[in-house]
Assembly symmetry: C2
Homo-oligomer: 485 residues x 2
């Protein structure tokens, strides 16, 4: 028997409670999500990880298409002089840019070409050709692609030189319309996080010091990971006329006056996969949100001999079509391993529901449904599978969301005294709500004195009730602080 | 009224019959498929072109997933020493490689990194880790991505430095299994071309001089464009153990002996879009194969005043849901342009069916269906739309395929005398079937004496009936010759 076992079946992982960072890397690699490569800073996304990305893509792509956005594809390479026109943007990104300086038999290039770290500059330069009058607006453009930002400290999915993302770039006639676009997309991101990944997020405004290089303002969704660190999981930027001015993206208005567009940009990336891993996992491995899980239900047949196997095979063949009709993504694992090994593997991979099917289940015309979340068991008559499995997956989503929300509530704190805030972050993590006077100096002081705690975001409409936690002047905003990835 | 017309409505194109190359560029740009960019060699794919690519992707992705292939994502950058291990491959690709030599604040890199021109080298290097025993095989891997091959002569979709494609890379325990994989995929490519793009192709073997750099052999599908030139539209390669040996991709067999894998690779790209344009267009512009057409049916309402418009709007609202139920991709064009202008635009864009809806159609409870192929008109009662439109789109596909097949038949020739072959290609094009002795010298002589006519491919089982057209020795293969893109 042992000869027939897959050779790669090494599923021991560090416990989350022992070492969160090692747990994360173990889970990502042993659940076959992603891995390191010989290319420094670059990862390989393996089938189980890539299938999650495909599911996220489909969900988000449907959303943006329903509101009139269109996919396009723009060049990977950006000539140096093009990249260099918007001053803040240049400052923000040049430290991370990889440069192509020679090509094939042509030798040295006259001008270096940047591999896109983001595409505002090249997309603006191209889209301006298609924008002449207000009748050509808005232009609602999106691109699914790879980008590269040179990084030496690699963390799979979270921080790699190359990553996959979508970048939206839209062009509008008025600031109001552009600002609405920023909010529309931010809400799509919230929906992706909460309704698809079961990951509660705080949607809000970034401070000036944390905004996108070249933006007027940036908004983000922020999620809390199970180690108490925050993760910025998506950003939506109002660029005002900054890029339109630098790249001459203009139109003639209803009054025939030439004016610059108001633009936005926004992105989510494969980083989201790192987010859902760290938002939901436990000591046994991943817990997959059902709506993006590559495998929602795994069927594990239990038998002793060929005769037993034949009987179970006929039994499963009787109701497996009902799973397809119910549009459940399922897999029957017929591999020659012990059931216990299979249980461990699919727990590691976070498959939401396991159906155990043994001889007594065949007798009773039922299956045993085991939840990855709490290992609760439920005997289900096979006739009920088509109706009940989708319901069980929906409740699983709800329970997983609630679990993450409860964790966030338990790890949310309020402070009015700087000393208490500093004491908290000396040995604890989580989210800290404080009031802030809006001065960059107070923001910087918190970051310096805590060794890296930052304002994640804030509700721009929110009025603070207490003095600024740093300087004691009137608080103007209620903000949420955390250490973050 | 003129004030309300889109500013970009310039649809004059060069006639195909006057200048095929200019017709092609005009159509691609004015139908808003793709365009040149400030980045030399790189194009922008606009929404109408990108939507075709998305439809091709979906069709092919479904095919390969149904036979157990899995999508992954591998690094864009390949360290120089990795790229350089398979000698023929190096020779074939280094003239086209773009090199990253410096990055951000890190300055010069120790080792240049190639932007992938294709990924055999990096994928082999990574996949070898997951292959230990015969039980880990086959590995059926695919990647959707961008690649870069330095080109200065650009032709939109057909020849650009950067392009989008899928590259499959599979790893097998036996040569037989790998060879079957090559054929399976070649047949998928044939299906994509014929059943989705309505483009008849010749599937066959490439000669040694035309095979992929590093392959044991390559197979291709070849289509005939309406200027009489052939287009290689997809390739599937048997790599034998060449890459496995160079990159040490080995496994222990059932006999516990360590041996090298047999590998394959295969790709189709955005070049296919250029292919369908040139296989189907006419003087009025594109003709879109319905199964991948972004818009299958355009509805053009005809009215004089607001009252007339209201009436037609209610009429269309009555049956538009039937189009959705029939899963027809349709668009109603309510823009404020004259119907004739809309007709030209959608003819240019090649939308298969146009529904003209005027006041008399409302009276008769019908629409007028106009085919892009022959401009034939058919009055259809609105109750019949749900059933008939899908049928009409299917017949459109069939007729478009037949038109391309007829064109190919009319432009296929047989030669047994070299002088006649040379005379033919002096002022004509098309496909020429000849017998060949299989010697590279004879192949080279044809290419030299015709100024570029090459053997496109051949049926490896085909036995020739006449002597080699060049040397007169016994013919061994019946091959098809053409000038090509």
């Amino acid at each position: 028997m042992s000869q027939m076992e897959p050779t790669d079946f090494v599923k021991e992982i560090t416990k989350m409670s022992v070492d969160f960072d090692r747990w994360y890397t173990d889970v990502v690699r042993k659940a076959e999500m992603a891995d390191y490569t010989p290319v420094r800073g670059c990862m390989v996304i393996r089938p189980y990880g890539y299938a999650i990305w495909e599911n996220i893509q489909r969900a988000f792509d449907d959303m943006i298409k329903s509101s009139g956005h269109q996919n396009m594809y723009f060049p990977l390479l950006i000539p140096e002089e093009l990249l260099m026109k918007e001053a803040e943007h240049v400052q923000g990104f040049t430290p991370e840019v990889a440069w192509v300086t020679r090509a094939g038999s042509h030798g040295e290039l006259d001008q270096p070409l940047a591999i896109r770290p983001t595409s505002e500059t090249i997309i603006g330069t191209i889209m301006r050709r298609y924008i002449h009058s207000y009748r050509d607006l808005p232009q609602l453009t999106n691109q699914w692609c790879n980008v590269l930002r040179w990084e030496l400290r690699t963390r799979l999915f979270l921080r790699t030189a190359e990553f996959l993302w979508q970048e939206g770039h839209t062009f509008h006639a008025s600031p109001e319309e552009a600002r609405s676009e920023v909010d529309l997309i931010l809400d799509y991101y919230r929906q992706i996080a909460e309704d698809w990944l079961a990951m509660p997020v705080l949607a809000g405004m970034k401070t000036d010091s944390e905004k996108f290089a070249g933006a007027v303002y940036s908004k983000s969704i922020e999620a809390l990971m199970r180690d108490g660190l925050a993760l910025q999981a998506g950003t939506s930027h109002y660029l005002g006329q900054n890029f339109a001015t630098a790249y001459d993206i203009a139109f003639s208005g209803r009054d025939n006056q030439r004016q610059f567009c108001h633009t936005t940009s926004w992105g989510i990336s494969t980083r989201l996969i790192g987010g859902l891993i760290m938002a939901h996992g436990d000591d046994s491995g991943l817990i997959m949100p059902p709506r993006i899980a590559p495998i929602q239900v795994v069927v594990v047949p239990i038998f002793r001999d060929q005769e037993g196997r034949d009987r179970i095979e006929r039994f499963i063949a009787g109701w497996a079509p009902a799973l397809s009709r119910a549009k459940v993504r399922y897999k029957v694992d017929w591999s020659e391993r012990r059931p216990g090994e299979k249980y461990s593997e699919y727990e590691l991979k976070g498959v939401p529901l396991r159906l155990e099917v043994g001889p007594r289940d065949v007798d009773a015309n039922q299956v045993m449904v085991v939840s990855r979340l709490d290992r609760s068991k439920l005997a289900l008559p096979v006739d009920a599978l088509e109706e009940r499995l989708p319901e069980l997956l929906d409740s699983f989503h709800g329970a997983l969301y609630q679990r993450a929300l409860d964790f966030r509530t338990e790890n949310s704190f309020e402070f009015t005294q700087l000393s208490e805030l500093l004491a908290h972050f000396r040995d604890r993590s989580g989210l800290a709500w404080v009031d802030w006077c809006e001065s960059p100096e107070c923001e910087a002081q918190i970051k310096a004195e805590t060794g890296g705690v930052t304002i994640r975001n804030f509700d721009p409409r929110g009025v603070a009730g207490t003095p600024c936690i740093v300087c004691g002047r009137p608080g103007r905003l209620r903000v949420v602080l955390a250490r973050s990835y």
